[in-house]
Symmetry: C2
Subunit: 365 residues, 2 copies
């Protein structure tokens, strides 16, 4: 039975997806506003489970691509989401039964919902990351090394480029990223539709409901005066890695991504300690006192220490009081095949992946 | 009546297209070898005039894209030319009646002939530049500001990208160039077919025969002991701008192009003088003693002073004895509309276009 989102659901998903976005996936506030506009226009934001669709139903993966800072300034025309789905289906001469987020993180949780609302299609409660990642080669649907074909890219000026065959997912990422930069640093991307049967094998299920649960916990804690950070940890199986103040933001636009590093000065139990967080659109590696405390594919979420609200890479700034929360990656991201695509080495680190669970508990946890 | 090229015709066109290429258009020797292989395989290289085809016959513009230095190292698979034509026709569901060079210069004179040989199609004796230019926004077919749609790009690994809508020709160039870089710096490009009727208005006619005439003159002079440089000037209405030795080659791979500057030290009548030639794949501006002697869209050709053979940007090197020949641009390139696309300002120069004819005769001419 489809779940029809209310305004309140949208607000909860925005917070949860912001936390699961680990800094990226596009500004969640913008996504939330866009989703509410669909509701205000009388259209439905429908969510269905993978078990509610027939095996051979075709589902279009869709998401925004680009640097989060650019997404804050380069607004859309409101039609790219649906246009991208229409284009890829027309190109192949097929009909889509639903949409699915490429990544549940950030505003990209809402992109397939908005496309679906305009097209009268539901969105599958699943995604290809269980979080957000910066590169389109990091989608669980393509961990087998077979790049989607075709991929359609469009933008606010209705420009349209079809990548028909690009080689490996990594080569496809490089080509798509170069196109994205030329489209102004932000583009809408729809991949070739995937049958539901296949998505049951390769997608990460239940991630929209997971985001909703995390957001609901944060909002409930804020309303009741409970600790929202503890609420996030309880809802998302997270652990606090560090708490303190942002004392430096080194963030550049490079090769179509936001890249850089945050530096935090500890407070409370971490007084006198320092932490750094490397970023490429998303947070990649968190170090405390120079030691790695968490790394991709585990989730490194930055939240406002008082309110538990997510702080994304495009808005983080000097002086914010923040808490770093580590959340174990979904099991689908930690297989050897997956780690080759989304582990530290895939981001250029000469670092083994040590899952969060095996680390010593931090002093404040 | 179609003109079926012989091996000798191919050799003549290679020299003439090398000279008309003004340093670029791809290495003419490579193009010549590829064309001869088609003849050796028993296929025909057929040339037809625009008046020999029906008004509504569709002609596919095709050419190689990329930096000439890359084209020397990244060889093709021998199928890209025909594949690109097939792809763009299949995409639109139309049949091509012929191919046409995007640019007659360099190896790009042979690209449509090779595609045509493999597909059993003739190549139109006309092109979109009457020379070579570095950017796909500099094709006379699109001087009206309407970019071709779609454009198909492919490469030696059969990768395939379709630019369906890109905005203006300049925006399309930027997108295509970024894709070309990701494909390794060299790609095959086929544009949407153009009806013959329209080509009669926008193409530069007779340029394959023009290249053939220049090449024949050079070979005849070489055989008879006449001055090949004088033969080029007579056949192409050219004038000698400078003669001397290459004393510096500053050539880099930047943004997908070869860019840089040659410096020549004068010899004979130019003893004691110096000349520089700016390049972006092709030669753009020739200065003598710091004064501009010729600029785009006029042709600046570099030839071996002894043999009259063209010297292209990817092979020019220190110590070569060269003569710089200026050739007036075809009239289609010097209208105000054309100059906005291919004049000095289109290459970033704050320089008016002064056609070759109006300059004072150089000392050695």
């Amino acid at each position: 039975m489809p779940w029809s989102l209310t305004r309140e659901d949208v607000e909860r998903i925005a917070i949860g997806a912001g936390i699961l976005g680990t800094g990226g996936g596009g500004n969640p506030y913008r996504g939330m506003v866009r989703a509410k506009l669909e509701l205000a226009a009388g259209r439905a934001l429908q969510v269905v489970g993978l078990d509610e669709l027939p095996d051979d139903a075709l589902v279009v993966p869709i998401g925004g691509m680009g640097a989060p800072t650019v997404g804050m300034e380069k607004l859309g025309n409101g039609r790219e989401e649906a246009n991208a789905v229409r284009m890829v289906c027309a190109h192949l001469g097929v009909e889509a039964a639903a949409t699915i987020p490429i990544e549940v993180g950030g505003s990209n949780s809402f992109v397939p919902l908005i496309a679906g609302a305009q097209l009268g299609l539901p969105t599958v409660d699943a995604d290809g990351m269980g979080r957000a990642f910066p590169e389109s080669s990091m989608i669980s649907f393509y961990f087998d090394g077979v790049a989607p074909s075709p991929v359609v890219m469009t933008d606010s000026r209705d420009r349209k480029i079809v990548i028909e065959r690009a080689g490996t997912p990594r080569e496809q990422e490089r080509i798509a990223r170069a196109i994205c930069v030329q489209l102004g640093g932000r583009a809408m991307v729809a991949d070739a539709p995937i049958p539901v049967q296949r998505l049951r094998e390769v997608a990460i299920p239940g991630t929209l409901r997971f985001a909703h649960r995390i957001g609901a916990a944060v909002l409930a804690a804020q309303a009741s005066g409970d600790d929202p950070v503890a609420a996030v940890c309880a809802a998302a199986d997270g652990q606090v890695l560090f708490g303190g103040k942002v004392v430096d933001v080194d963030r550049r636009f490079e090769r179509g991504y936001n890249v850089g590093r945050l530096t935090l000065a500890g407070a409370g139990p971490w007084q006198g300690e320092a932490s750094t967080i490397d970023l490429q659109n998303e947070f990649l590696v968190c170090r405390v006192g120079g030691e790695v405390r968490a790394s991709v594919p585990d989730l490194i979420a930055l939240v406002d220490s008082e309110r538990g609200s997510p702080i994304t890479t495009e808005v983080v700034r000097y002086g914010l009081r923040v808490t770093v929360i580590g959340i174990p990656a979904p099991a689908q991201l930690t297989t050897p095949q997956a780690l080759a695509c989304v582990g530290p080495a895939a981001f250029g680190y000469d670092l083994p992946f040590t899952p969060l669970e095996r680390r010593p508990a931090p002093p404040g946890a």
